[in-house]
């Protein structure tokens, strides 16, 4: 038995176990998704290849694939959404969009209104300041940035609401696979910023959703 599904998780934490596809065989992903689909109306699998999706599709016919975000989703019943309290997902560059989309779709799956503002890195700060109103209105913010990751600090200083920072592996040389952005975000001189793993759009979306649901 290669997987012990945590069927209790939906009750305990409000969403079924999310499948981490990387490092699993096609058969394993297929079987796990099939079992989850029996007990849950919303399921999510991350870091999935197209090939994995094809295998899942055979047994869970209503599964959808989000290519950029590398997500497989099943959504049989839309959760109710409060349109007033939105999560704002921002990316510093166009290349960071796959991770940003992973966060955005995750949050949508979990019943949140999500707005997206992409490609507003700090090198052209006026593009960012143009978004001032959205930043102030957002209930939670997810900031996705590679290279030097400076966007998180700037947003952290502008927003009055919690910022979840996601470093990405976009960059080269001394970005060391996202390390530069990660360290930058951890050392943010703005308070109200917390960080998830490099490229972990899913984790950011999940965290933002939890916060956005607080009453």
């Amino acid at each position: 038995e290669f997987a012990k599904l945590d069927h209790h998780r939906l009750l305990r934490q409000g969403f079924a176990e999310v499948v981490f596809c990387q490092g699993k065989t096609l058969e394993q992903v297929q079987a796990i998704m099939e079992r989850l689909a029996e007990y849950n109306h919303s399921i999510l699998a991350t870091r999935a290849t197209k090939q994995m999706y094809d295998a899942v599709k055979q047994v869970v016919t209503d599964a959808r694939y989000h290519e950029l975000a590398r997500l497989i989703t099943v959504e049989r019943q839309k959760p109710p959404v409060d349109k007033e309290r939105f999560i704002l997902v921002m990316s510093a560059g166009t290349s960071d969009i796959p991770v940003a989309e992973e966060a955005a779709i995750t949050a949508e799956m979990m019943g949140n209104e999500v707005k997206r503002v992409y490609d507003v890195g700090v090198a052209g700060i006026h593009r960012l300041l143009d978004q001032h109103q959205l930043i102030e209105q957002a209930n939670v913010l997810v900031v996705v940035a590679g290279m030097e990751g400076a966007l998180a600090s700037v947003i952290g200083g502008l927003a009055a609401k919690p910022v979840i920072a996601v470093p990405t592996s976009i960059g080269y040389g001394a970005s060391f696979g996202g390390l530069a952005a990660l360290l930058s975000m951890l050392n943010s001189c703005a308070a109200g910023v917390a960080v998830v793993n490099i490229d972990n759009g899913f984790g950011a979306g999940r965290m933002a959703s939890m916060i956005n649901h607080m009453r």
Copy 2:
């Protein structure tokens, strides 16, 4: 002019600029605190030595010093507190308490009810499971741990509310000044966990407060 105080911050983010004392001279800390005390009823300075406090005390007579947490606080008017929605600050070991206290006092200063559960590291998991109810009732959780930092993942799996994880530099050898706990927390297999800098109790307390105030 060695300091440009961000007097706007109280309006923008609900709390005055917090002073980072490390690397500042006694004169600088003293002067900055004096100026802040003119315009604000609640002020906070972090990573302050006793000597810095003594200098501040001369000009801001109602300043208090929290030795373990290395904080200087001035609190002229208690903010209203919702006792039902509490922040739970947990530490893995006794040695992590200074950082945990930095988080707890910061959150209290910002108008939150805080409960503390210290020394419940995963090596004796029953101590932790004994706290099950508190973990479920908490509105936000701050988990402070050094060494391998595993506590964050376990709490992340149990709680349905957001967890702010704070790695500490407690440990030796391959803890590399808190790096082991930091990486561990960033790679948490539980979702709903976000991380702040090593030993950054202040940042965790601030973030937890922001989340706890969401309605």
Copy 3:
């Protein structure tokens, strides 16, 4: 002469030299296995590709291939096994199974009863606590985990018997190829935990076998 086989090892340490296939040519692996098969009834080769196995199969016809575990084995005579004293091999996730299987098969080859419990990571701790009895009955434990590797500390705190911890390279971003799990395990706040190299299932299986054979 590209290999000096340590024929003395069987006598000295109770098992023939184990072949590390990575970095060797097909011809080298083939020739080494052929020579070992002349003098030993049990032989083991690790990190072997299917292609290497095909080459070996030609000259050692009773060789078997374990695809997931990337092992080639020859076992002409089963060693006696004490069923009461079993080694428990646990994995945190499904993706860690290849390394766990490398450990389990190694231990079986060396004459041990092995039980497997896979996919019991700490994010759903009840799955783990369900295995409480097995953990208490086990004579030695092998704990295989990637990402933050917290499972080792939790098991180390529950078990009264030695725990061999194996970090895996499963993860991404700040897992840095298994570094996060490795550091986490080395800094375990539970005593009775010792660590082998990242992805070194073989080493863990060998160590567990040595300990399990102590009388």
Copy 4:
């Protein structure tokens, strides 16, 4: 309440909770030791300064201090010891002795016969080969080495019994605080070697004791 003692540990794992003194105040160490001394006949505190010992001595009058090993011990009733099955603690250099003693005394406290062989680093391998008989007779081996830590691999190749390797921070420059020895030991080409944290003599002694008590 700054410490939640794990009183259950003696039952669960055969030895009371061991106190990690680093990062604790004098008062904390004193109070924890006092409470532990009420319920246990053998107690151990690691990484203790002389000053901490003096504070403990006031409330636990039969406490002893081992200066080199930085241990505080209380031993009211010697556990029975099997003299035939001894643990061999080896050090590569004289400078590694403090860590080796931490391991040796820990193991003795836990009811083991311990033999010591110090200063037998691989630079003069005949010194090591002179100890051949002891190495063969030992039931478990603890190998303590700094700098390049090569001793663990050589002993791992000679011994038929489990080797617990302890890297130390002895060295300078590219030893990077013990990292060189740690990596060296983790990559040992000899099987039957598992590693604990840099300078963690306690952990090695505890692990060796667990293994030595197996029947």
Copy 5:
């Protein structure tokens, strides 16, 4: 003979050899400064302690000490300065001022008009935008920042002139002695930014001066 002075440097590069005091004995610093003072009218020594200055003062009576910047200077003849083309030295925090001053005084010594704007970190970006005019008028910019070093990217995006970025070791935890700020600055998504060593105010001042003198 412990020092081979590069007397040719004044001719070759327009300024005499600058003495790096760290790691030198009092006698060495004293003797080197004495010899340099014979041949040059402007001399500079970096990373000098007060004690070193006292020794130098005995033999070079017109030497001055800049405590914050840890510089010893001798300036017998002011170089002509073009007031229109100024170097703007900016710091993110108050704690970064010592490094900023090292840069500013170095540049002044080398015949440049220098303006200073300190404590304008990105957490309160309006403080920074208030300086918009100065940023546009500056001929060269030196940006000094610790923690996450984001200031360099923001200035790099605003200014049309070259930016020399200086990471500082201000910070703690995952700042790793300035590594976070260094990597951040190297990965700046704004072009027109080049970086010098952590805390190297001198190098930044020298580089800025070279650029500012271009015609």
Copy 6:
């Protein structure tokens, strides 16, 4: 909308936004280049594959591809060039030429006279000294080197003008992807050297151009 072009940049900084192609899809690169080509007469895209160029060529018919340098350029109107003030681009080895060309072509695009001297690493210092005159005449220098990156320090000591150092990832083993050259250049004992990211020829060319245009 996946890209917010910074159309203001030409005005603000004298050159249109430069496209970083890595991590973008073919469609994204194509669309961004098409839009930029509408508003600008000179455009530049870096880290572009041949495939990306082919996609761009369809919509921007006068685009050119520089294979070695991995640049796409559009140049409809040559900027005026001052032939007297040239930028000297030097490389240590032949293998560093791609990065050197990225710098050289970038600078040419931005209206600079560029001279190239390649393969003059310090292992044969006479090759370097032969270029003495060019080094003295250059107005700005770009030094591109992998392996140990020593060339930057030697040139920094010879030249009276600013040196922009570019570490490359050329090397193996302990070059750690360019880290060795990067650290070497940051620690240059020659003043007047500033550093850009590993393999960042573009950044060096841009910076050199800014400096070369100073009057």
Copy 7:
């Protein structure tokens, strides 16, 4: 002109410039080898692919390829060799042989008698001690080892002659691409050991040859 050959090197250092093929195009390698072949009777190119060799072969017809060692050699006139003074090249494992051969062939090209002893890692120290006589007779020793690299220290302690240690990237996990072996060798507790870059068989062979030719 992409390459400035150092034709003076033969005179200065006794052997023509050696071509580092990695990162060069086929055309570059071909052209450089052609030019070198005009002026020298012995030439060497390292890290060459088979494809590069095929290109070279077209223009330098007497070139040979050493597949395992990835060397291209041209040797028109054998240098005289002193058979009594031999270089001993040792490898810890079979997988290290490619690097060992790079060293051995390099040394042979430069006029040395070379003996090879491969696969004598420290895990079976008797295999090593069996070579005692050769180790004592050798004039210079090259020790090639991956994983934990302990062989260098053991040989360093046995031999009275200089040892050149070559760490290899053979290993996995915490070998970090050869870092473990590199650090181990640098921290060797035996004196008389100096280290070259990871996988740098060429450098070791060249150094050993220089030492072996001393009179």
Copy 8:
């Protein structure tokens, strides 16, 4: 018994065991030196404090202390020295002299003629080229440099004899305790350079002596 002296070493390797004082107690250093002094006429202890020397002086009255080099030496009978074959010890800066002296005195103790050339770093390359003749005449070279360590590559390119490179911890910031110089030297593009540990003057002197004695 805390030390097993390797009395055989004088016979095996031509010089008695050298004492590494760091991490040893005063009593241990004293006792070890006393025993060594009974059997040897030349003894050497490295990394010794003045206090250690005072303790040794009481029992070995003819011991001498070299403060800068931190060496204790006893030399009762000068070994014969060949004045023609000299070792050239070079340092890049004045601050590197302590390590250079450790190398020089070690080599002198072992019967070598040593010449010293200090403070000839590459920032003023003419100072270095002035020493051209000495560099050509030297039989072995030891190059000691901190910061970027470029001196080793330049000397490696000039000299026809073996170069032993010693990185030092002189520097700050991104020198990371000597790591920058170490990596630089390991990646030297000049062949004929081998490296010892950071600050390991002793190891370099010993290696140079071995090479210098070859006939």
